[in-house]
C-alpha cells in the first residue's frame, strides 16, 4: 500500500510538474455554435426494439418461459411423474381441474378468508398507526406490540385460534390478520416517520388539521412505504392461508387450495399437487405483476418517488 502510494505520488508529480513550467498563458477561444439539426429531433421516441427491451412485462415473460423450458427438460430427463411431473402433465391436470370447476371452487374458498383477513389486517394497521402518529404513548404501544407479535409465526397462533374460534373461516381470518397487521403497521409507521419536515410544515401552513393532514399530506407522502407494506402483507397472508389449510385441512363443506394440495398428496397424485402449487403461484404472480404493478406505475413511479 505504502509503496503504491509513493509510486503514485511520484507519477502524479511527473505529470503535473512539467505542465506548470511548460504551458504559458493560452489564447482565448470563442466558437460559433455548431448546427445541431444533424441529429434530428433533440427529443425522439425510442424505436420499437428499444421499447420492447424496456418493457418489464416482456422481460419477465422471457424469464418465465426459460424456467418452464428448464422444468420440462429436467422432468423428461428424470422421467418419474410420481416425484417430478413434467410441465405439460401439470398443465394438463391444471386445465382439466380448471375446466371442471374444482380449482375455481377451491380458489374461491381460499380467497374468501384471505380477502377478509387481508382487509381486516390493513384496517387495524391503519387504525393503530393513526393512533401511533398522533401521540407518543400510541407510538410506544404500537412499537411494543409489533416487537412482540411480528416475530411470532402465524402457524404458531393457529392452535390458539382453533381453541377460540373452532375449525373454520374465523380461525383462518384470525391468523391472516395476525400475519398482515404487524408487517403493514410497521412499514406504514416507518413511512409516516420519514415524511420530510418541509412537507409537513407546508401542509400545516395551508391550515390542514388532523384528518385532512393525514389524508392529504401524510398518506400520499408515505405511500412508497405503505405500498411496500401492503405487498409484504399480501405475501404473508397468502402464505399463512395455504399453510393453515395444509395443517388443519378442510373447513366444513369444501376445502381451499391448501386442502386441494393436501388431498392430492395423500392420494400420491403428484401432478395434482403441482397443479395446486401452480395455481398459488399464478395468483401470486397476477396480484404482484398486474395489480400491485399498475398501482405502482400509476402512483409512486409517476410521482418520481420510486424508480
Amino acid at each position: 500500500m505504502a509503496i503504491n502510494e509513493t509510486a503514485l505520488g511520484e507519477a502524479a508529480r511527473d505529470l503535473v510538474k512539467p505542465r506548470i513550467h511548460v504551458s504559458g498563458p493560452r489564447p482565448d477561444l470563442e466558437f460559433a455554435l455548431l448546427d445541431a439539426s444533424d441529429i434530428g429531433d433533440v427529443q425522439r421516441r425510442l424505436s420499437f426494439p428499444e421499447r420492447l427491451a424496456n418493457n418489464d412485462a416482456i422481460r419477465r415473460a422471457g424469464i418465465l418461459l426459460f424456467l418452464v423450458i428448464t422444468w420440462e427438460i429436467y422432468a423428461r430427463w428424470l422421467d418419474n411423474s410420481l416425484l417430478f411431473p413434467t410441465f405439460t402433465l401439470t398443465l394438463k391436470t391444471f386445465v382439466g381441474d380448471l375446466l371442471d370447476g374444482t380449482l375455481v371452487d377451491r380458489t374461491r374458498t381460499s380467497l374468501y378468508p384471505l380477502v377478509l383477513g387481508y382487509a381486516g389486517g390493513i384496517l387495524l394497521a391503519g387504525l393503530l398507526t393513526s393512533i401511533a402518529i398522533s401521540s407518543r404513548i400510541g407510538a410506544d404501544i404500537l412499537n411494543t406490540l409489533t416487537a412482540m407479535f411480528n416475530p411470532l409465526p402465524a402457524i404458531a397462533v393457529l392452535p390458539l385460534a382453533l381453541i377460540w374460534f373452532g375449525l373454520g373461516t374465523p380461525s383462518l381470518v384470525f391468523v391472516i390478520i395476525h400475519s398482515v397487521l404487524w408487517a403493514v403497521a410497521l412499514s406504514t409507521l416507518t413511512g409516516f416517520r420519514s415524511v420530510p419536515e418541509t412537507l409537513r410544515l407546508s401542509g400545516r401552513n395551508y391550515g390542514l388539521r388532523v384528518a385532512g393532514y393525514v389524508a392529504f399530506v401524510m398518506i400520499p407522502a408515505a405511500f412508497p412505504a405503505i405500498l411496500s407494506g401492503l405487498k409484504i402483507g399480501w405475501a404473508f397472508a397468502w402464505r399463512t392461508l395455504i399453510a393453515a389449510e395444509l395443517v388443519f385441512g378442510v373447513s366444513s363443506r369444501s376445502g381451499g387450495l391448501g386442502w386441494y394440495v393436501f388431498e392430492a398428496r395423500s392420494e400420491l397424485d403428484t401432478p395434482r399437487v403441482f397443479a395446486g402449487l401452480l395455481t398459488v403461484i399464478v395468483i401470486g404472480l397476477f396480484v404482484e405483476s398486474v395489480i400491485f404493478k399498475s398501482i405502482e406505475t400509476r402512483t409512486v413511479q409517476k410521482w418520481g418517488m420510486q424508480r
Partner: protein
C-alpha cells in the same frame, strides 16, 4: 425603533427557544421589529442565529416563550394561509401533484375562492413565474429553480397578507439565484406584496431588501435595521452599494475583529 401600533407585522420582544431531550436552546432573544405594507423586509444574520426560527414563529409553527407577534391585527397562534411560507428545500412541493395541482391545492383547502377562480388564479400565477409549459408536469421533472418558482407561485396565488421566504434561493446555483432574485423583484414591482425574506448573504439582502434587519450571532438579537430600497444588481459596483455592504459587514462581525477585513473607520465614515 418606532413603537407605533401601525404596521402589518409587529414582532415585540420575541424570545424563541427549542427544548430538546437534554438541552434548552435559545434561538432568538427579545427581537422586535415592524414590517409595513409592501415592505421587502430582509432578516439578515450569520448561520444559526435564529432567522429560520423567527420566520417559523411568524408563520405560527413555533410559539414564542416571551413577547408577541401580531399580523394584520391578530396575534399569531397557529399556522394559516394568510402567511404563506416558501422554504429553502425543494421538497416542499407535493410530489404526487402536478405543478398546477400543487398551486391549486392550498386555494382549495382555504376555500377562499370558487372552483373556477382557483383554476384561473393558479394558471395566472404559473404564467407569472413563466412555467405555463410545465403546468401538467410532476415536480420530479423540474429543475431546482423551477421548483422554487412553483413554490413562489403557489404562495402568491393565495394572496397572503405576507409572504415568508426562508433562504429560498440558497440551494440554487449562482446564475439561477441571480435570475430568481431579479424575477422576484419584478414580480414585486407588479404586485407590491409584502414579504419577509431571510438570507445570510449581504449581497442578496441589499439587492432584494427595501429594509434590512440585522441579527447578531447566536442567540439572535437585533443589531440594526437599515434602509436599502434603492440598490439593485445594476448598482453592485457603485460606491453606495459598497459602503452599505461594508457597514453591514461591520455590524455583523465587529465582535470578531479577526474576520473583519476592513477597519471599522471605513463604515463609520459613511455616516
Amino acid at each position: 425603533m418606532e413603537s407605533s401600533s401601525s404596521g402589518l407585522v409587529q414582532v415585540r420582544n420575541v424570545t424563541l427557544q427549542y427544548k430538546t431531550t437534554d438541552h434548552l436552546v435559545t434561538a432568538t432573544y427579545k427581537v422586535s421589529c415592524t414590517v409595513q405594507h409592501g415592505d421587502r423586509y430582509v432578516i439578515l444574520g450569520p448561520s444559526g442565529c435564529g432567522k429560520s426560527t423567527l420566520l417559523k414563529a411568524i408563520g405560527g409553527f413555533i410559539r414564542p416563550v416571551g413577547g408577541s407577534i401580531v399580523v394584520n391585527g391578530h396575534e399569531i397562534r397557529e399556522p394559516g394561509p394568510d402567511r404563506m411560507m416558501v422554504f429553502q428545500e425543494f421538497e416542499q412541493l407535493m410530489p404526487w401533484k402536478t405543478v398546477l395541482q400543487n398551486v391549486m391545492f392550498p386555494m382549495q383547502v382555504a376555500k377562499k375562492y370558487t372552483r373556477s377562480e382557483v383554476r384561473d388564479r393558479a394558471l395566472s400565477a404559473i404564467d407569472k413565474v413563466s412555467l405555463s409549459k410545465f403546468a401538467k408536469v410532476y415536480p420530479h421533472m423540474l429543475s431546482g429553480g423551477m421548483k422554487m418558482r412553483v413554490a413562489i407561485a403557489r404562495a402568491m396565488a393565495l394572496e397572503p397578507d405576507v409572504l415568508l421566504m426562508d433562504e429560498p434561493f440558497a440551494a440554487l446555483d449562482a446564475l439561477t439565484r441571480r435570475k430568481m432574485q431579479e424575477e422576484l423583484l419584478s414580480l414585486w414591482d407588479q404586485l407590491r406584496f409584502t414579504m419577509l425574506f431571510v438570507t445570510h448573504s449581504i449581497e442578496e439582502a441589499i439587492v432584494v431588501g427595501s429594509r434590512i434587519l440585522i441579527l447578531s450571532p447566536h442567540p439572535g438579537r437585533v443589531r440594526a435595521e437599515l434602509e436599502a430600497g434603492a440598490l439593485s444588481y445594476a448598482e453592485v459596483d457603485s460606491p453606495a452599494f459598497g459602503v452599505l455592504s461594508k457597514r453591514i459587514h461591520t455590524l455583523l462581525f465587529e465582535d470578531e475583529p479577526k474576520h473583519a477585513p476592513e477597519p471599522a473607520s471605513a463604515a463609520a465614515g459613511s455616516h
